[in-house]
Symmetry: D2
Subunit: 299 residues, 4 copies
């Protein structure tokens, strides 16, 4: 597998595509807004006019778009990926095109996409990532990967260019489900930090001492330093917005509810993010959840 197309060149996708190219693959790109593709053309990548064209030209297609409607737009229509795949004629098994969806969408949307891709004669791997722009640039994302074992084997070298670890989760859909689990924990850790820093503040303890005490100890997650600084400095420019976390926590609770599993902490965390939305912070970074406690505490 040498020829790889990358669809979706946003902050995350663009950085990841660079790493695919650096990793020795022959890169082609497609982005809905074509100007984002130009820097890649300058560096020798093929630039396609549509997802369909990208599909026809490649052995593997990576998709990294922002939400389910964007994924839908990539897949469908006469210029869509599915049309392109169908036009190639079904390869057989390992010869068929490998579609790697790295966009985070719901398990249901993932399974639906997989079914349609397979119906168009291609293979599908479900590979959302954990990590934000910096690790995307550094190629140190954690990649969650779901699919048939042979397809995961085929995708592995490609995924390795983007991440420092590829965690295999089982069949298609399981990687997306694991992403949900991680987002449950991400939301929980944000609220945990918000409550810890707020308690410290109420006791006259400098928040920087909290972050310093966390660093390097058993609770020392990098997230705390990064988001703790934002909370203490009052910087809430979005990396991962409140609205998106709220959406994910809803999906977590819906999924858990269907499994008859109570999640009492996550339920409380969801309401905190709901309150952050009520206060108008929906488009700020999830670190803004601390402002709910600040508003309640000082009136």
């Amino acid at each position: 597998m040498e020829k790889v197309s990358f669809i979706g060149l946003g902050a995350m996708g663009g950085a990841m595509a660079r790493n695919v190219q650096r990793g020795g693959f022959t890169l082609g790109v497609y982005n809905r807004s074509p100007e984002r593709a130009e820097p890649f053309r300058a560096d020798g990548a093929a630039v396609y006019a549509s997802a369909s064209e990208a599909a026809r030209a490649s052995e593997a297609v990576v998709i990294m778009v922002t939400d389910p409607p964007a994924l839908e737009a990539v897949l469908t229509g006469e210029d869509g990926l599915l049309a392109g795949l169908a036009g190639k004629g079904a390869g057989s098994g390992g010869d068929s095109t490998l579609v790697v969806n790295m966009s985070t969408v719901s398990p249901a949307a993932t399974l639906a996409a997989a079914e349609r891709v397979r119906a168009a004669g291609a293979r599908f791997v479900d590979a959302p990532v954990s990590g934000t722009v910096k690790p995307a640039q550094d190629g140190t994302l954690v990649v969650l990967a779901g699919g048939e074992a042979a397809d995961l084997d085929a995708a592995e070298p490609l995924l390795q260019t983007m991440g420092k670890a590829v965690v295999r989760c089982g069949p298609v859909g399981q990687a997306t489900r694991l992403k949900l689990v991680l987002n449950l924990m991400l939301g929980g850790m944000m609220q945990c930090l918000a409550e810890g820093l707020s308690l410290a503040d109420s006791q006259g303890i400098d928040g920087k001492a909290v972050l310093q005490a966390l660093a390097g100890g058993p609770m020392g997650a990098g997230l705390y330093q990064m988001k703790g600084d934002m909370m203490l400095d009052g910087r809430f420019a979005k990396q991962f917005p409140v609205d998106l976390m709220f959406k994910d926590l809803n999906l977590v609770l819906e999924t858990a509810g269907q499994a008859h599993l109570p999640l009492p902490m996550t339920a409380a965390v969801r309401e905190s993010f709901s309150a952050a939305r009520g206060l108008g912070y929906g488009e700020e970074d999830m670190a803004a959840v601390i402002k709910v406690l600040r508003r309640l505490h000082t009136g």
Copy 2:
């Protein structure tokens, strides 16, 4: 300051005392059960018959005992630390004995101890630690330190032998309050992990994939690997028991309540630990909180 006494030679205290000796201080020890002191005698440490004797013989006294009654027993009585301090006669300022309490007790108990130690003519530093037996052995604890700046300066070289970081928090009492903040986060992270692993399990995802996905990413705290393994293996031998976490969460909520600060996530976490006690897991490790979800989920 050369001569240091260490009172309390349990799993934590014993390891910490070793590091004080390795750090070049002239060590003396006292332990309520004298057999724990014998290995130190073999290695050249003075062994005292009482806390009073330890106080009289040293420039600094470190206390590392398990709970408020044990601290009370160290301080009071005719053989107690206070009696020993009083018997030395008040030194003046930097000459007086430096008492460093590293036991975790409540802010109120810390302040009360400080007052009595000062009344006996000595100086007091409040220095609870974050970390368990392994970092205590390795000298990589995080030491939280509260006290007068001059006293913290005096204690610093001693504390450095036991920890890789000494976090200054303000006057006496603030280090204990910061410890409460850390325990809020510790309890929150345990429940967070328990909910994450339970959701994964309900979706047919191997818990090891969750731990693998966390490792090294922004959420990658060592705690998750250590406690996650215990949860997945069903090993709940106590390091930090449910009962103690419940007690600390009560203290957190009481403290926050007095400050008019709501902590909705911590409140939910407290109830989960209460449920763990109701199910009979009070003396197991705090990782046993996951069993509450397992009992609810499978009936």
Copy 3:
């Protein structure tokens, strides 16, 4: 308006239809399982073979079915209500058929039904009820009514036969939304009672003393006596099942979330009902939520 058809003759609907007849309206009935219609035939009601026939024969049609698929089945198909309405030709204004949906479905399903009924030339009133079988039999339901003022005026005498109070809530959809509000409170009160009785039990207080103390005081809701007796006697035969309450609480939280309104108590209550499902009580009466606390408390 004299001729009224009643569609849906279950425990609730059957009792309500009786009261319509007793109230002096000329009753016709239709039920999917025809045997339930026979007792009404014996009492002089017309029995229709389809919803379509019921629609054609009546000035007003009341629908009281159990869930959205059942409502869908009533409305659609060649024998469906919509076909029957369309076949009558659009009356104009007050002459057109009045469709009164008393089934509890979601606001979205209500609005969709209203749109289709109106497109078929009829008028629509949204009229879910508060109360269970006993008040349905006694004609003492509380009827929530949403619709155009003129349509509500037209429906009023009919609704009065079934309820002791008709609460007007605004346009179509608002009655269903008010029903959601009531179910939020119903779920909250059940958990409130469960926690109160469990605390009493843990303190050696007879639960009957709790119920006695509630009765007649400002907290004295009939619900507490009815459900409290069930909880104390361990009788959980379903009147309003756990599964249905869980579904409604999900709808409540989804609705509140869309409005950016946090509901921290309801979120905790939802998890308790989720736990009840996890323990296998989904099809028991909502009073079974107390068994979650009992399982946690005694192990």
Copy 4:
């Protein structure tokens, strides 16, 4: 038993004392601020200069004061109730003075008071009430009564003058514990109403329709009408203040925690009242808890 002293003539106590007199008992009164006793003197009651004097002059003494320090002030000192009881000499059994404490204090404070009263040779009944000023005036309180059966029999006619129901709960302390259970439910119902009205408001439903729909149905508690009107009108003059509810919920959770009983809903409710305090509503009526949601929702 004819001669009864009433200690504590506040809004509640004054109204209750009137009903004791109307019930045919020979009334004496004592109040710390003597001007409150004057209207009773005008109506023929004896007015005492101290609790001690009241104790010496009566067969039964009712205490209705606001908090534990006030109770302590009544009991102790040379003019205190205990001194007065001791001075009478111990009666034997049914001859000894009957002390009926109707003040709401903690179970521990109740038990301590009982022990001291008994040591002074008198009998003790624990009789907190459910209900506020209006039922106190009307003699329609619910009286919770704990004590020895013979003492409860002796107290019954007296308690009947103040309440429409006397609920026997077991030995001394149990009535106070039942009061805690009722206050758990009171706090839960307040939050339940606050969430329900807030959801209604967010959906454009008039809160009066919610209250109307509740009235007379199975959820129809008088509390909802009274507090619902206050919430809708924005009247928060205190009858039962937020601070007191918060204190009681802490006591509830502490008691439940000691019994290893989780109370997830109550925990969430406590945080809502904590938030109300954080917003500065501590001295307003507990109905002000709805303002927490309003502040979160509208920013």
